[in-house]
């Protein structure tokens, strides 16, 4: 058990340590029922972060996710009555469309993803504002319960949201580790030139990565919209930075090729624990944000696996 062997597990160690610290300060934190509720609640953020992982994994970033989710809450609310549960397909289609658009602009027009995704996000925001008429919309409770009521049920005490999250995590984990797309992603992330020279269609891989990111942002938007039983052009605001933080803290740095979806699960849980810590440790309201930032710096400094950063740290 050398130090080096432990490195990939640093994020997990950080998570466990934080959990223990919060738990010691307030043993109520360890209550399983409470824990499950906390985890179930972070699900939309987790889903968004999962998608974002793909963009960051290839060395890019996707800043459009929040706006895509905003747009999706509006789309879901508007079309739920008409299409019922089939609105899922519209949602996934629209998410894929916007993600692909980001990817296309990035790869074909050579616009850095930082800017292209931000700009595509603005477009999504416009759509959301237009479709919602700039009002907060809400769903008819019966329609919602008929189509998506099951999402919030429980089986043997386990919220279905959590089950959906686990299924999605397994899905992307399979995608990342077992499928040829995952392999291609890894190649593009860790050695783009070699991937090109091996004849991979690198642009297609990247576009697909952004597409996946868009789809997951859309699913997160859908979950959120159904959960809140409504939608408007600002509903998902505040998602973006926590999602980025979750991916980074989990150990997928922006240099690409390192980390992955399991790391993001860990990162999301870390974000959850830090947030819960504010509540459990009764951190003063005005100090919460500063404390969050400081814990974040410490967590990242401890967590990050520098051996994979290959020398230069930008």
């Amino acid at each position: 058990m050398s130090f080096k062997f432990l490195k990939p597990y640093f994020p997990w160690i950080t998570l466990v340590m934080l959990t223990i610290i919060v738990g010691i300060a307030n043993p109520g934190f360890f209550s399983p029922a409470g824990m499950i509720i906390l985890i179930a609640d972070i699900v939309p953020l987790l889903i968004m972060a999962l998608g974002m992982t793909f963009a960051i994994y290839i060395g890019g970033i996707d800043l459009s996710v929040q706006q895509i989710a905003n747009m999706i809450t509006v789309i879901t609310t508007v079309y739920l009555a008409q299409f019922g549960i089939w609105v899922v397909f519209i949602v996934i289609g629209v998410g894929a469309l916007f993600g692909t658009l980001s990817g296309y602009v990035t790869t074909r027009f050579y616009v850095p993803s930082f800017v292209s995704t931000l700009a595509i996000g603005f477009v999504a925001l416009s759509v959301a504002k237009w479709l919602s008429g700039q009002r907060a919309l809400y769903m008819d409770a019966t329609f919602r319960d008929n189509s998506f009521g099951w999402v919030f049920g429980k089986t043997w005490g386990i919220p279905h949201e959590l089950i959906i999250a686990v299924v999605l995590v397994l899905l992307v984990w399979f995608l990342q580790t077992r499928m040829s797309f995952g392999r291609a992603l890894k190649a593009v992330g860790s050695g783009e030139l070699a991937a090109v020279a091996s004849g991979l269609n690198v642009n297609r891989v990247k576009i697909l990565a952004f597409c996946v990111s868009g789809i997951f942002a859309a699913i997160a938007g859908l979950m959120f919209s159904v959960k809140l039983s409504g939608g408007d052009a600002q509903l998902a605001n505040g998602f973006l930075l926590p999602a980025i933080v979750a991916v980074l803290v989990g150990g997928t740095p922006l240099t690409g090729g390192v980390g992955g979806v399991i790391n993001t699960v860990c990162g999301t849980l870390i974000v959850m624990v830090i947030r819960a810590a504010m509540v459990y440790l009764e951190v003063d309201a005005t100090q919460q944000q500063m404390v969050f930032g400081i814990i974040l710096i410490i967590a990242i400094t401890l967590t990050i696996d520098r051996s994979k950063l290959r020398g230069i740290v930008k």
Binding site: N26, G28, F29, S31, A33, G34, M35, I37, L38, D41, I42, P44, L45, T73, T77, K129, S132, Q134, R135, A136, L137, Y138, A141, F224, S225, K227, L228, S229, G230, G231, D232, A233, Q234, L235, A236, N237, G238, F239, P242, M272, R275, A276, M278, V279, Y280, E282, D284, A285, T286, Q288, Q289
Partner: protein, 369 residues
């Protein structure tokens, strides 16, 4: 006539009824214990956690709200720190997650006052609280189909402000000031927020009686000073001297507008909303024509108080009439004439409110259109 005077009179009146009200509260509770349904049905807590969940501390409006919450907690003989703050930073997701975390921490032994950041968010928050056995009172944001009386005792109350009427009043003050002709612009809040919509509607209602005034443009400034500053600059470019009055959805927007006008050396009357101390000063100086005080201090205190007193069983919400479950908060107009008086009475010496007089200053049951 002074709006202030009227309000203070109403206030004094209600103070006179203090004993009566508290007697009702206590005896009501006692009666419930004796004749009410089994106590197991409605969990009552001896010392529930009291929490306020709101957007952020960067807006003075929320500071006022919180000061009310803290004043209420102090009235119980506890220290300010007893009030738990949940700050959602404009994120509905965090708003909900924080509430759930607190529910888990307190096992539902919680009296929560909350503005859910966005209307759709209210339902899951209420549902979570009801499931956990906590008592929740909401402020401002909720969807029209969500009502406290559908949830028994645990969704105690909802308070909002009918902004359409007051906004119409300020609009009339503005339109009179410009002589009933010319052009006005409106800078709104976040477009989908209820108050933003109502305040614009208020202006539109007023305009119906002033056919010679044209609404040149209305754009959202997201409650933000800097954004308002930029939007106003755009308006000035586009409409220039056609602008003879500005209607702002709140004070913070007003500050940005004032500075934009100042940069141009323009002197155009403006009206705002919310009655922040700084805005009141500006009204006193005559830079703002009128603003509307919604008494966030009282709103913040009474929302927490309602949840708390329901939680400890001092009254049983389900036995209250609808107008005690959903009601409008008080509004006070502030014009240059009474700004100083107002300031002395409300800002420099914050009145000590009776936090068990739940509905005294309220403004009637919420009406839906």
């Amino acid at each position: 006539m002074s709006f202030i005077k009227k309000f203070i009179e109403a206030e004094t009146f209600s103070r006179r009824n203090f004993l009566l009200a508290s007697a009702y509260g206590i005896s009501g509770a006692a009666a419930m214990r004796m004749f009410g349904p089994s106590p197991i049905m409605a969990a009552e807590y001896n010392d529930p956690t009291i929490a306020w969940s709101y957007r952020n501390r960067t807006n003075p409006y929320w500071n006022e709200i919180v000061s009310g919450g803290e004043a209420f907690v102090e009235s119980l003989g506890k220290s300010k720190g007893f009030l738990t703050h949940l700050i959602n930073e404009g994120s509905s997701e965090k708003s909900l997650a924080d509430v759930k975390a607190l529910l888990a921490k307190t096992n539902g032994e919680l009296a929560l006052a909350i503005d859910t950041n966005d209307a759709p968010n209210a339902r899951p928050v209420v549902e979570a609280c009801v499931d956990a056995g906590a008592y929740v009172s909401t402020l401002w944001n909720k969807t029209d189909d969500l009502h406290p009386w559908d949830f028994g005792d645990h969704y105690v109350s909802h308070m909002s402000w009918s902004d359409e009427g007051p906004a119409e009043q300020t609009a009339r003050i503005l339109l009179e000031a410009i002589g009933g002709k010319g052009g006005v612009v409106h800078l709104g809040g976040i477009a989908s927020n209820n108050p933003a919509i109502e305040r614009l509607n208020g202006l539109k209602n007023a305009l119906k009686d002033y056919p010679d005034v044209e609404l040149l443009d209305a754009q959202p400034a997201d409650w933000d000073t800097q954004k308002a500053n930029q939007v106003m600059q755009g308006f000035i470019t586009r409409y220039g001297d056609e602008i003879s009055g500005v209607h702002c959805a709140n004070d913070t927007i007003g500050y940005g507008v004032l500075e934009a006008l100042r940069a141009e050396g323009m002197d155009v009357p403006i009206v705002t909303y919310d009655g922040n101390p700084q805005a009141v000063d500006l009204v006193a100086e005559g830079k703002i024509l009128a603003t509307v005080f919604t008494n966030p201090h009282w709103g913040g205190g009474i929302t927490a108080s309602l949840a708390y007193h329901a939680a400890v069983g001092h009254f049983k919400p389900s036995e209250e009439p609808h107008e005690h479950r959903e009601f409008y908060g008080p509004t006070i107009f502030i014009t240059p004439d009474d700004a100083l008086e107002f300031k002395a009475n409300y800002l420099e010496n914050v009145p000590t409110y009776d936090w068990t007089d739940f509905w005294g200053p309220s403004n009637g049951q919420i009406m839906y259109k």
